[in-house]
């Protein structure tokens, strides 16, 4: 206890200000893990992207050939880019729209609302599993529940979801929309932060529901929309399991569900084109980084921060 007495006050301050030994001891696992499993692999992947490497013989330096092949010769590559953008551009807004809609429904003080919140979240928590992908595959099967339902509603001809590239892709988009739980919870947290008095004041001024939504809810929620948009976009670009399971690993029909991650996986682990797959990974990294940057840069035009106005 009294060890402090012997030391000068300045010296003690210095000791409490920086505690390098303890600090580095605690974060040592991160540094080791970061170097071994992130930094060195990224650099290795960058190097490999300029090589021809099949894992069994040593990598052959081929310069930009992988990138050239990717951009100018590989039609399947461009197709997977197209499919992925389709998936992201249709899927992310749909998912966020559903999430916001449900969050607004749940943002009421009703009895038992907590149970609904929990149940709505359930599909998201199990959504990444193989079991759910299998279920989805069968729901949309030729004689699955969706077609049975459509028949019941009077649609005579069953829809062959998996025979057409676009409708097969839409089953994946529906799956991602069905798992709206985590953006929904974030929206809900955001909605709770909007003061009720704003709505009351607007009602007094005679604003109808649409007005209130566009003039109050959307602007005040915009920072949260941006956050969800960035996270969900990154997540959507990396979708793998459902596409793999629903198409049985092929990305079919006619490569209609060949998402980027799935094609990368095929190149790396089915054909052992490790160099080519590394180049694909780097392009993905660049595109995601660019998109994220773009979202943040353009956000100043549409994201409304309350603190700025004051």
């Amino acid at each position: 206890m009294s060890a402090v007495m012997g030391e000068g006050v300045d010296q003690m301050k210095l000791r409490t200000k920086y505690d390098n030994v303890a600090g580095y001891t605690f974060i040592a696992p991160f540094i080791i893990g970061f170097l071994c499993f992130t930094l060195i692999p990224i650099l290795a992947s960058f190097y490999l992207s300029f090589t021809d490497y099949d894992l069994f013989s040593s990598p052959q330096w081929i310069g930009l050939d992988n990138y050239k092949e990717m951009f100018f010769e590989d039609e399947k590559y461009w197709n997977s880019v197209k499919v992925t953008f389709y998936y992201v551009l249709a899927g992310v807004p749909l998912r966020l729209g559903v999430a916001l809609f449900i969050a607004m429904l749940l943002n009421r003080d009703l009895q038992g609302i907590g149970i609904y919140r929990t149940l709505f979240y359930l599909p998201s928590i199990i959504g990444g599993s193989v079991a759910v992908a299998i279920m989805w595959r069968n729901l949309f099967g030729n004689d699955g529940a969706i077609n049975a339902l459509l028949f019941f509603l009077g649609v005579e001809q069953p829809i062959y979801w998996y025979q057409d590239p676009i409708s097969a892709l839409w089953t994946l988009i529906f799956l991602s929309a069905w798992q709206f739980g985590s953006p929904m919870l974030i929206f809900l947290a955001g909605l709770k932060n909007i003061p009720k008095t704003y709505y009351e004041a607007a009602s007094v001024d005679g604003a109808h529901a649409g007005h209130r939504f566009f003039k109050i809810t959307l602007p005040l929620l915009s920072p949260i929309i941006l956050f969800n948009l960035v996270m969900q976009t990154i997540g959507a670009f990396m979708t793998f399991t459902p596409a793999y399971i629903i198409s049985n690993g092929t990305g079919g029909p006619l490569d209609g569900t060949l998402l980027y991650s799935l094609y990368l996986f095929q190149q790396a682990f089915s054909f052992f084109h490790m160099g080519y797959a590394s180049a694909m990974a780097w392009v993905m990294l660049a595109v995601i980084a660019l998109l994220t940057l773009l979202l943040f840069k353009t956000s100043s035009y549409w994201v409304h921060y309350e603190s700025k106005e004051e």
Partner: protein
């Protein structure tokens, strides 16, 4: 209700006769109720009972969860409570890692693990988890910030070092954040398909995800009932954990709002 319909349909289908699952896709209630799907499914595939796959999944999930949660807590404490040179730099590295697509590191990691001779073992799946997960570190840091610094100070005056402060003061108080992280770790490892797909090629090492995929490959049309039954079994631990811990899960998501 529309949200849960697919899940109920799925559950009910596992009690239908394989041959009638699709002819009766429009009706929920099985007629007759069949339990044999579960028996057939549990018998497994390729001479390995489904119990083996569940055991494999549990070994991976438990070891990686303990490793990930404990190491993340250490790292979070270091970042949240200790000042050291270069902290800002390492913190930035961590946040960037959180946004990094897994696809970028998966190939070099595979090469590394195959060079180490770790293919067909659980090591490539478990070991990277032992060095902290950025998402958990971030979540725990947020939580540690809500713990009053006076507690640390008081423990220090009582003669505690940084290390004993961590173990005696912070770690017990961190319990809710540890629980949240553990639950997420459980889900992600349990559901993980791509890592087992890459690293495990022997059926006796397969995880539940892999086993289901193998079912899908080999049974195709013949035995949907068993396939559905085992899918239900594979979701059972997930759903049970969900209902026990849903409070933590909902909190954890709203604090940091990631993933999904």
């Amino acid at each position: 209700m529309l949200m849960l319909y697919p899940l109920v349909w799925f559950l009910m289908s596992s009690f239908k006769e394989s041959s009638s699952i699709f002819t009766t896709a429009h009706s929920l209630i099985p007629d007759p109720w069949v339990w044999t799907n579960y028996v057939i499914g549990w018998a497994g595939i390729g001479g390995h009972s489904f119990g083996t796959f569940i055991k494999n999944s549990f070994v991976i999930v438990v070891l990686s969860t303990i490793g990930a949660v404990f190491s993340s807590a250490l790292i979070a404490y270091g970042f949240a409570r200790i000042n050291f040179y270069g902290k800002r730099f390492w913190f930035t590295c961590m946040m960037l890692t959180m946004m990094l697509p897994h696809d970028v590191v998966i190939i070099p990691q595979y090469i590394l693990f195959s060079k180490l001779g770790w293919l067909n073992s659980f090591k490539p799946i478990i070991v990277p988890q032992l060095f902290g997960m950025p998402f958990f570190i971030f979540l725990m840091m947020q939580f540690i910030r809500t713990i009053p610094a006076e507690l640390d100070e008081a423990a220090k005056i009582d003669g505690c070092s940084k290390y004993s402060i961590f173990f005696k003061v912070i770690l017990p108080l961190l319990a809710p954040a540890l629980a949240t992280s553990a639950i997420f770790s459980f889900y992600w490892r349990w559901e993980d398909l791509i890592n087992p797909l890459i690293y495990l090629n022997k059926p006796e090492l397969y995880t539940v995800s892999m086993a289901l995929k193998m079912f899908l490959d080999s049974q195709s049309a013949s035995n949907w009932g068993a396939m559905f039954a085992m899918s239900v079994v594979s979701l059972l631990p997930v759903v049970v954990v969900f209902f026990i811990f849903q409070k933590y899960i909902v909190e954890g998501i709203s604090i940091t709002g990631l993933k999904g």
